[in-house]
């Protein structure tokens, strides 16, 4: 599903966020991505979602070579991906349900059907009662969960989650990871960046450890089987 071959990302300022990173996440796998702040976790996820371009190296996602992906193919490519942002990135000009409905709108779901799916997704993150709330009235953890609902509402083939439990208490954190595992069981591939080593270690899933832009322990993740 995801393959990086000797990928380097150097930003305009000269920072090398990623150095010669190679990794492979098979379809159907769920892997965690850890490492200290500034190690390059977000950068790696953004490269995979093609929000950034690598300075060097090759990235293949879902059978597509991102180096040769034309601009007009980008939308189709992104429709198979769900993204959870570290900073949520909710739209504050509309209520929660409209935020979650955005991917469905783009995919052309009928409104009644979209509404049903939005409610199901909000229910899964425990926010059904906040359906009509404005995002700015929500707590940081609630906002984070709205972002998670938006990422999974269209059942993407690949989930890229950047610190999805950063603002959540231990119990909720566990529930959210469990939710991702449930989706993984029905076929969703996932790469989840997290600081929370304690939490991660309780799930028997592969862990990729980034340190200073380099992949330290280059686990090649096994296909799902432990589920």
């Amino acid at each position: 599903m995801i393959r990086l071959h000797r990928v380097t990302k150097r930003f305009a300022g000269g920072t090398e966020a990623l150095r010669n990173v190679s990794l492979r996440v098979d379809a159907g796998a769920l892997a965690f991505l850890t490492g200290p702040s500034g190690a390059g976790k977000s950068t790696l996820l953004r490269l995979i979602a093609r929000l950034e371009r690598p300075t060097r190296g090759r990235i293949m996602v879902n059978g597509r070579d991102l180096g040769t992906l034309a601009r007009h193919q980008e939308p189709q490519f992104r429709r198979d991906i769900g993204l959870v942002f570290q900073d949520h990135r909710l739209l504050f000009d509309r209520p929660v349900h409209a935020n979650v409905a955005l991917p469905l709108e783009i995919l052309g779901y009928r409104r009644t059907e979209a509404r049903k799916r939005v409610r199901a997704a909000l229910d899964k993150v425990g926010l059904l009662q906040k359906e009509n709330a404005q995002p700015q009235t929500l707590s940081a953890g609630e906002q984070q969960r709205v972002g998670i609902a938006r990422a999974i509402v269209h059942r993407p083939a690949l989930l890229l989650a950047d610190e999805p439990t950063g603002n959540l208490d231990p119990e909720l954190s566990r529930e959210i990871i469990q939710l991702f595992l449930d989706f993984n069981r029905v076929g969703m591939t996932a790469l989840i960046a997290s600081h929370n080593l304690g939490l991660i270690s309780t799930f028997a899933r592969p862990v990729l450890h980034l340190e200073n832009g380099s992949l330290e322990a280059r686990h090649v993740t096994q296909p799902r089987s432990t589920a």
Binding site: R78, L91, I106, L107, Y109, R110, R155
Partner: protein, 307 residues
């Protein structure tokens, strides 16, 4: 993505996408009523100006056509050399394109003149009749070109006659009307360009305001076409709104200027009813609004989505 049955079929999806985009643009316009009204008013004023000019030109043409005129050509001739007036009349009558010929003998003209004087005796000291005989020719065709050709024909037929026609002012009016149309065309083109730019700037600004929504939508797989669709509907909406507003303005301006124009026409001795805007002008204004609205929004959204 898995079960397509929850998503609409191809045509249905297309229709649904469009109706959603239209609904969203309407919603957005409704939530910025002040800005929407100002834009509609600006477009209305700009569209109403050339429409009113056109109306004036149209009325001016109706005025020149409505004034009687039988464009007569008068020939003044000194009958010497034995030719009689009747001969000349017969020769003119034989010309092609002549509808009517009338003749006034020099003596009759003098008699009529004498009648008009307070003291007819004033003319008694004249030895000869100084007045020429007059032939009036009414051509079949009345276009300026036909009149000019007829004049030419008469001048060659009777080289000794003085040919005077009263259609000069028709030709002048015709020329003025042509120039007016040309001016109107150029002014309209410039104003259309102005409208397009205004709408382009407005829709680009609107898209930039939606910058975060667009960024998120793109990440979720939205195409440019999807992202600009509400703006295009917004442009259409503003354009049609501007067209409607310009019609209302035109109606008001016509009501305010009708009687002064009609009075002025009366001073010139021409009874004249100022014609208001016809359905054709209305359709043209709405059509212009529609097209310019779409084009402007398309240009603006292309510029805004490029980055």
């Amino acid at each position: 993505m898995k079960d397509g049955s929850d998503r609409a079929g191809h045509l249905e999806a297309w229709l649904y996408n469009h109706s959603e985009a239209a609904r969203r643009s309407l919603w957005r316009r409704a939530h910025a009523p002040g800005q929407t009204l100002i834009l509609v008013a600006v477009l209305g004023f700009i569209l109403a100006l050339p429409a009113y000019l056109w109306l004036l030109l149209d009325n001016a043409r109706a005025l020149s056509a409505g004034v009687d005129h039988e464009p007569r050509i008068a020939l003044y001739l000194d009958l010497e050399g034995g030719e009689t007036l009747a001969d000349a009349v017969a020769r003119i009558d034989a010309l092609p394109g002549v509808a009517e010929v009338a003749a006034i003998e020099a003596d009759d003209a003098l008699a009529a003149y004498r009648e008009s004087l307070p003291d007819p005796a004033l003319l008694d000291w004249l030895e000869d009749n100084p007045l020429p005989a007059i032939i009036e020719v009414l051509p079949l065709e009345r276009s300026p070109e036909a009149l000019a050709a007829m004049e030419q024909q008469l001048a060659t037929l009777l080289p000794e006659a003085t040919v005077i026609s009263d259609h000069e002012w028709v030709r002048q009016l015709e020329a003025l009307h042509g120039a007016g149309l040309r001016v109107l065309l150029v002014v309209s083109a410039l104003l259309a360009l102005g409208i397009t730019l205004i709408l382009a700037v407005a829709s680009a600004a609107e898209l930039r305001e939606r910058h975060e929504e667009i960024a998120i939508s793109r990440i979720t797989g939205a195409t440019d076409r999807f992202l600009r669709r509400p703006s295009l509907y917004g442009g259409l909406l503003l354009g049609v709104g501007g067209g409607l507003f310009s019609l209302i303005l035109l109606g008001i301006v016509v009501m305010m200027t009708r009687s002064p124009v009609e009075e002025a026409a009366l001073v010139f001795g021409v009874p004249f009813a100022f014609a208001g805007p016809q359905a054709r002008i209305g359709l043209m204004l709405l059509g212009a609004g529609l097209v310019l609205g779409w084009v402007g929004a398309r240009l603006g959204s292309a510029a805004a989505l490029r980055d």
